[in-house]
């Protein structure tokens, strides 16, 4: 038959058989398939490599922040200079010129230094905090007066960079912050065993400072702590209550709809807008103190509420209706059913959501800038109304400082922040895995 047809109408070309079309294209299609899979793999590899590059870069820059160089000075405390009357009165001891003692000590070590410029370079080998360190030591141990002892004082931040090997000695003297004679002095001190690097406790025990070698994150950490306490105390009960109402009690009406739309929108409002709200309402209207963890906590509460509400609702949803029916069937009121039976089962899920919300709040910076938590604050805050800053804002402030040493401190602070976040998320995952019940 087919032959007949073709002979009848020779002008109509023969239709290609499907199998031929498939065979002809199959290689191309398979190649396309492989290409497509490759794109996917490349995309994932890229995304994951960003994670590693980021972590590698931060750790590489910040690992030095956890050690600090110290220089040994052999200090002789002349009684005539410090406590001429021998009273050992703390006020007299505190008044002595420790600054001068450190300086004259450095001069004695390098007697060849004569010109003013050279002396200035010599003095800047050690941190400006050295004299306070000495003063504190003498106050606590007056018995040192009249004796000679070895004191390890922190090196100045530029010298610290030199000792850690971040400064290229080969570039011309004018292009680096360290002068040739300073390098020579440090090398000499090093040969004499007067230079050491050890764990930097200052980084964890001090507040902010203009001098990198004296700056620490304790102030920022306690600011973050107070802020998060406020956030947690407010957002957890309110968020859970809102979720319970919406999931268990709310009738299907306009009000409920409006609430739901609002919550979903608030979850996507830029965080800086919450900062504007905090500035206008809490600070300008209610006249709450600026820069205070209390206000920071309030702003972060409003910001994390949607997260907590959404995850708490999901947790409530996952509790099977049978539990509710059983409780009602035994004569519990609706409120008793929710609080005595449903809530305990949903709590692990709610906790997971809350911890993740808290982790977000811990890393948040922008809204806190708006309410004045960016001030330079040396004192470690001790209450909810003390002016303070938080860890991410501290990172932001340090990142602005041009010194090489602050880059290291910034990365160090980032590592601490990330460690906290990773811990919080790990706890959340643990709770989800261990405590959450699957039905």
């Amino acid at each position: 038959m087919t032959e007949d047809n073709s002979t009848l109408s020779p002008n109509i070309p023969k239709r290609p058989r499907t199998i031929d079309v498939v065979r002809k294209n199959i290689n191309k299609r398979n190649a396309a398939e492989r290409r497509f899979q490759l794109y996917g793999k490349v995309a994932i590899a890229l995304a994951i490599s960003f994670v590693f590059i980021l972590f590698f870069d931060i750790i590489n820059k910040g690992k030095g922040a956890f050690v600090q160089s110290y220089i040994a000075l052999d200090i002789y405390l002349d009684e005539q200079q410090i406590d001429p009357d021998g009273t050992r009165d703390p006020a007299v001891i505190a008044d002595a010129n420790y600054f001068g003692i450190i300086r004259s000590n450095l001069r004695e070590m390098f007697p060849e230094v004569s010109s003013r410029q050279e002396r200035r370079n010599l003095y800047s080998l050690v941190s400006s905090g050295a004299s306070y360190q000495l003063a504190d030591l003498v106050r606590e141990h007056p018995e040192y007066i009249g004796n000679t002892f070895r004191l390890w004082v922190p090196a100045d931040d530029d010298i610290d960079m030199l000792i850690k090997g971040y400064i290229d000695r080969n570039i011309p003297e004018d292009d680096r912050r360290i002068k040739d004679n300073q390098i020579a002095w440090i090398d000499k001190l090093n040969e004499e065993g007067r230079v050491k690097t050890q764990f930097n406790t200052t980084f964890f025990t001090a507040g902010d400072s203009r001098d990198a070698e004296l700056a620490g994150i304790l102030g920022a950490l306690s600011g973050s702590f107070f802020t998060l306490i406020v956030t947690l105390l407010l957002s957890f009960p309110i968020g859970v209550a809102a979720a319970i109402y919406l999931e268990e009690f709310a009738p299907q009406n306009r009000l409920t709809d409006i609430i739901e739309v609002n919550i979903n929108n608030l979850a996507a409002v830029p965080s800086i807008v919450f900062g504007l709200l905090g500035l206008a309402v809490f600070i300008n209207f209610f006249a709450l103190p600026r820069s205070a963890p209390l206000v920071g906590g309030l702003v972060l509460t409003l910001m994390t509420l949607p997260t907590i509400i959404i995850s708490s609702r999901a947790a409530l949803k996952s509790v099977p209706p049978a539990i509710r029916e059983a409780a009602i069937g035994l004569g519990a009121s609706k409120m008793q059913m929710v609080f005595n039976h449903v809530l305990p089962l949903a709590l692990p899920g709610m906790l997971t959501g809350t911890i993740i919300g808290m982790a977000q709040a811990l890393g948040e910076t922008a809204p806190l800038l708006m309410i004045g938590m960016v001030a330079f604050i040396v004192d470690v805050p001790s209450s909810f109304t003390d002016p303070s800053t938080v860890l991410p804002v501290q990172i932001f402030l340090w990142a602005d400082s041009p010194e090489r040493a602050f880059v290291e401190k910034t990365s160090g602070a980032i590592m601490v922040l990330l460690a906290f976040l990773i811990t919080m998320n790990a706890v959340a995952v643990f709770i989800r895995k261990k405590l959450e019940r699957r039905w």
Partner: protein, 469 residues
């Protein structure tokens, strides 16, 4: 710190006192309820612990409300009284100067004396202020305890065998639940009002059309009349363009990578790869933006600059490209998890149908799954765009302050969020066009992201409903 600190410690102390009283009232309520029926609980209408809750609520509930209202208002009332007491010559000034005056008084009271011109009037006012404060606080303590005693006693006395304590407590709980859930509405209203109010006074100073269509942005207003070069121009077009440019760069990075990785993870990857790769991707979402900002400013920007210089391009040290690229990395997990959701929502039967017709897997994905998921993916991309527009820290740290009207990604541009931060964190002049401009920008930002979110959520929801039917 002294006075304010002492007082807050005092109010915390008061709060703790109330909590202790509440606990005691709870215990007393339980005791009384059991005593009423001499231990035969079944005769009570409500279980004893409901009587306990009822007494505790009666004791401290009203007092707490009074405490909260008092503490939130007394500061401004006292300040008004103090300012009202100042001599006429000091108060007939602009709002800004009065605010400065108030600051002086506060600084003096709090003991951080950096206040400059300490006239006797101010010292007197400061004394008056701290006097008023301590009076107010004593009064508050007295009122709180009086209310506690009164309400607590009447609540306690009202307990009886038939007392519907459970219903009362449940009504209160219900009130708390509803109040908590309406907080979301109040937050939105608060945002709208706070930015709108300040924006309206801004548009009183700078015409709306100039703000929206002007191409010149230099918010430095003259402090003195004879100052040159600080005319104060508030044309926000360069900011909008800068914001869009950086967001566009971010999306060109994030959308392909996020989408392709979502497709690969949900369609090709084995369970094991998925369980490793997905959490790794999510890490990107958990990193604080300030860390990205630091990375962009100190690692990516110099890298791009060096690379540009090496091939003879002139790259600004704070280029839009650096900020955009890093922001793109930040929103990758956002795009990928949203796309993952919508791709998984495409019914398996559609895939099976395509595969049964002989399509390869990639053809199925490109010609069947992808078109079906497209609305959801578009919704996700819109959400990601709103994220990018509202992102602050990366651009504050890595993009510049120069308001250049340019589309060249190698130039420095500035964004809406950067300007809000700079305008509000510098030395503030109260009620100047400069600070108010920040709120006007905030309003624009809020409206833009709101519209994007509403559209995106609407699309995503519609799409879900369509597929589920």
């Amino acid at each position: 710190m002294s006075v304010v600190m002492g007082e807050f410690m005092g109010s915390t102390g008061l709060l703790l006192c109330l909590l202790v009283i509440g606990f005691i009232a709870y215990q007393l309520g339980i005791r009384r309820a059991s005593a009423l029926v001499s231990g035969r609980i079944s005769q009570l209408h409500s279980l004893p612990h409901y009587h306990g809750y009822f007494s505790a609520l009666a004791a401290i509930g009203p007092a707490m409300i009074v405490l909260a209202i008092w503490l939130s208002l007394h500061e401004s009332i006292i300040m008004n009284m103090v300012v009202g007491n100042l001599p006429e010559t000091m108060t007939n000034k602009t709002d800004g100067e009065i605010k400065l005056l108030i600051n002086d008084i506060r600084n003096l009271v709090n003991g951080n004396v950096i206040a400059t011109n300490l006239t006797p009037e101010i010292q007197q006012a400061a004394k008056l202020y701290s006097d008023h404060r301590s009076t107010s606080f004593q009064l508050l303590t007295f009122v709180t305890f009086a209310i506690t005693l009164l309400c607590g006693l009447s609540g306690y006395m009202s307990l009886s065998k038939e007392k519907r304590a459970r219903n009362a407590v449940e009504r209160f709980m219900m009130f708390f639940l509803i109040a908590s859930s309406t907080l979301a509405i109040f937050t939105t209203v608060g945002i709208v009002f706070s930015v709108l109010y300040e924006s309206i006074s801004f548009f009183g100073k700078v015409p709306f059309t100039e703000f929206v269509f002007g191409t010149q942005w230099s918010p430095q207003t003259a402090l003195r009349a004879d100052q040159v070069g600080s005319s104060g121009a508030f044309g926000a077009i360069p900011l909008f363009v800068g914001t869009l440019l950086i967001s566009f760069i971010a999306l060109t990075v994030a959308v392909p990578i996020g989408l392709l990785s979502a497709v690969y993870l949900s369609e090709y990857a084995t369970e094991k790869t998925r369980s490793i790769a997905k959490p790794l991707l999510e890490i990107l979402a958990g990193i604080p933006t300030v860390v990205y900002g630091f990375f962009a400013a100190l690692t990516v920007a110099p890298m791009i600059r060096n690379f540009g210089t090496s091939i003879g391009l002139d790259v600004a040290s704070e280029s839009a490209l650096a900020a955009g690229l890093v922001m793109g990395v930040m929103i990758i997990p956002f795009v990928s998890s949203l796309s993952d959701d919508v791709i998984n929502a495409v019914p398996q039967s559609m895939r099976d149908g395509a595969l049964a017709l002989g399509a390869t897997q990639s053809e199925t994905i490109r010609k069947v799954v992808f078109p079906a998921a497209l609305p959801g993916i578009v919704g996700g991309i819109l959400l990601a765009a709103s994220r990018a527009i509202g992102e602050t820290m990366i651009v504050v740290m890595a993009a510049g302050l120069a308001a250049n009207l340019t589309l060249n990604p190698l130039d420095a541009v500035t964004t809406v969020t950067v300007q809000i931060v700079t305008l509000l964190t510098g030395d503030q002049e109260f009620d100047s066009a400069k600070t108010l401009a920040a709120f006007a920008l905030g309003l624009m930002l809020f409206l833009t992201t709101l519209v994007l979110n509403v559209i995106a959520l609407h699309i995503v929801r519609r799409y879900r409903e369509e597929l589920e039917v």
